[in-house]
Symmetry: C2
Subunit: 192 residues, 2 copies
Amino acid sequence: MSFEQLISSLSPKKIKIKKGESLFQQGDTIENLYFIVSGKIKLIRDTIDGNPVLLHMGHESEPLAEASLFSDSYHCSAIAESACELKTIKRHTILDFLEENPAAMMNLLAIFARQVRDLRTINEIKNIRSANERILSYLRCNIDINKELMLTQTLKDIAHRVGLTHETFYRELKKLEEAKVLQRMPDRIKLL
Amino acid sequence: MSFEQLISSLSPKKIKIKKGESLFQQGDTIENLYFIVSGKIKLIRDTIDGNPVLLHMGHESEPLAEASLFSDSYHCSAIAESACELKTIKRHTILDFLEENPAAMMNLLAIFARQVRDLRTINEIKNIRSANERILSYLRCNIDINKELMLTQTLKDIAHRVGLTHETFYRELKKLEEAKVLQRMPDRIKLL
DNA sequence: CGTCCGCTTGACTCAGATCAAACTTGGTGG
DNA sequence: CCACCAAGTTTGATCTGAGTCAAGCGGACG
């Protein structure tokens, strides 16, 4: 069971916010948990020395600020990068449900553990200097048994995910295709 | 309660391995869970197209491959980067304990959620191109209320964590100190 | 006492960032 | 149904700052 299914099973409300609007502010008391149905939301933290730091960019089909489950006030602010649809649910509704359903909690634990694993991988991949090798490593870690990566997001998003500018990413992709190490299709990339 | 305390409370065994030795191999059946007392261990995955990818470097005071709690076989191999001391415990000992102690499970969930949050932050920081700004962002996110970062690891390790070569890291640190934006002390760095 | 490793600094190089411009696509609203 | 706008994609020219290689110092540890 996924995090989305967990939230959906607890009859969430649906809300919409416009680009630039704020979902919550740093310091606010946490009452709700969110799941991004569509759009992008950035999490920004104002640090102790006054400078803001971008903590995370939340994409569609992702929960937002899961750690807020275990905290009383937000440690960052959420601002919509584009028009967004969200599912929202009371924080305590989930906590209560989990406490009464150890199996669901164990399931969520597995989801989080998997998240940690994936994030560490992408983190390590970002330490590879060469754009070429970085892209290949990303592909190697994310292709299915047919050696294909389904494009559920834009190439630009993937570029950002691996820590490259989209220009460099497009260029390297082209080089790799010309070198016959991969093949681009409208909805996927195949490693040869 | 930390992950370490959880493991320690279940009477783990202590083992030592030498540099270069393997703790487990990709494909092995998972029986044990590990916690690194000292040393470094790298996790390597042989991908479908034959090339190996470095997934993670585990440091002292960190659990190793937590996701293995929820899987039957290792998806990567573990090789000691230096001489290591480890605590080891049967996977099912932990799972059984968690199932009987929902409070401990909830606690672990919070630890994992926090992990996810921190990893996302470091991930986003690695997208900052300028070494200068990257270091400052890292500091801003990790300093305590005294605006100080305690050095529990080597500068070289921090350099790797933020995705810079140690040479560049040392140089920028020096520039920042000369520009009076931070102050270096033997055991910590203070932001001014 | 010797070795390893973290730390530091210098010189040089180049790969990826940046800036710029054009094309494509998809959606919106009149 | 079309005009228009926003955003993703693509390619080119240029440049700079982080990587690389190299060398030396000093402390820890066996």
